[in-house]
Amino acid sequence: MNEAVIVKVGMADLNVAAAGASLRTTGLGSCVGLTLYDAGRRIAGMAHIMLPSSEIAREGQLNVAKYADTAIPELLVRMKDAGADLSRLVAKMAGGAQMFAFAGGSDSMRIGPRNVESSHAALAKWSIPVVAEDTGGNYGRTIEFDSLSGVLTIRSVQNGVKEI
């Protein structure tokens, strides 16, 4: 077997891979790693979402990959450019943990669950089904998404390796 090509997706970043390459993002805590997949053409996309909504953005030049509501449309454009059939896409997601538990739990501490909720809402808006997810908990995750099989591999310090 050939050495698989791994495309890195940074924090608040997104990318697309095909032809057997894999997408990888590391150290997801409250962030959500969201993947889209066209199984027919074996085209995969991944976004590393940091915040739930671009409504709270105060930056001049908006980084669309950072927010759930803007990352998904951008990823759809990139998937289409790569030749994906948008009507056949399915989504998976991982992350959205709550790493620290504070008594009281301010809004910013709940950022993980909020990222998951917003990601679901944005996908529903585009009628993209979520076929699998591994979200929540209180631990970090590193994920890798194989464009050949559509399998999402999740690694964590506490819970080892899991495939969805």
Binding site: S30, E59, T142
Partner: protein, 206 residues
Amino acid sequence: MNLFSHDTEFKMDVLREVGNIGAGHAATALSRLLDKPVDMAVPTVSFIPFEEISGRVGGPEEVVVAVFLRVEGEAPGNIFFLMSREQARGLLQGLLAFDATEGDAYTEMELSALSEIGNILAGSYLSSLADLTGLPLSPTVPSIAVDMAGAILTYGLLQFGTMGDDALLIDTTFLEGKHEAEGHFFFIPDPESFERMFRALGVPVE
């Protein structure tokens, strides 16, 4: 950030000095706690891309022991006390005077002791900052996690997240003797805290 477009060097120097005074008090507190000399490197102050912050402690997947405290008051922000697992073990041995549990798991007692160390460091850091600026500042109850650095540090970046892809980090390394690191102390003030700190310290703000 616009606030830093003028007199950038001077403002960075002020923050470095703020970090220096805070960390100096924290190092003294740690030294008393462990009953041995604890030194510190001169703090570094930098705007650093989110992506690179975990690089300071070994990369996004490096497993670290992290005590996290939110700073409340007039100049809110986030504080992390970060150690490698070996450093945490060393601290526990020094503090509790018994051999810490082998392996990767920590007992409640050990986690609680490490949280308390983070609490004492943050408390002395912040009280000297509060004295210096006259701004009321207090830490929340500490929270501890043993996990990937990337996953943990995100919590310190959320306030900057809405403004861009960089955060201003005041980073101090604690040293045992002259070389062996005891841990990193990160102070990441919220973006709106800088103007208040500068005003309180008499730094001209346009």
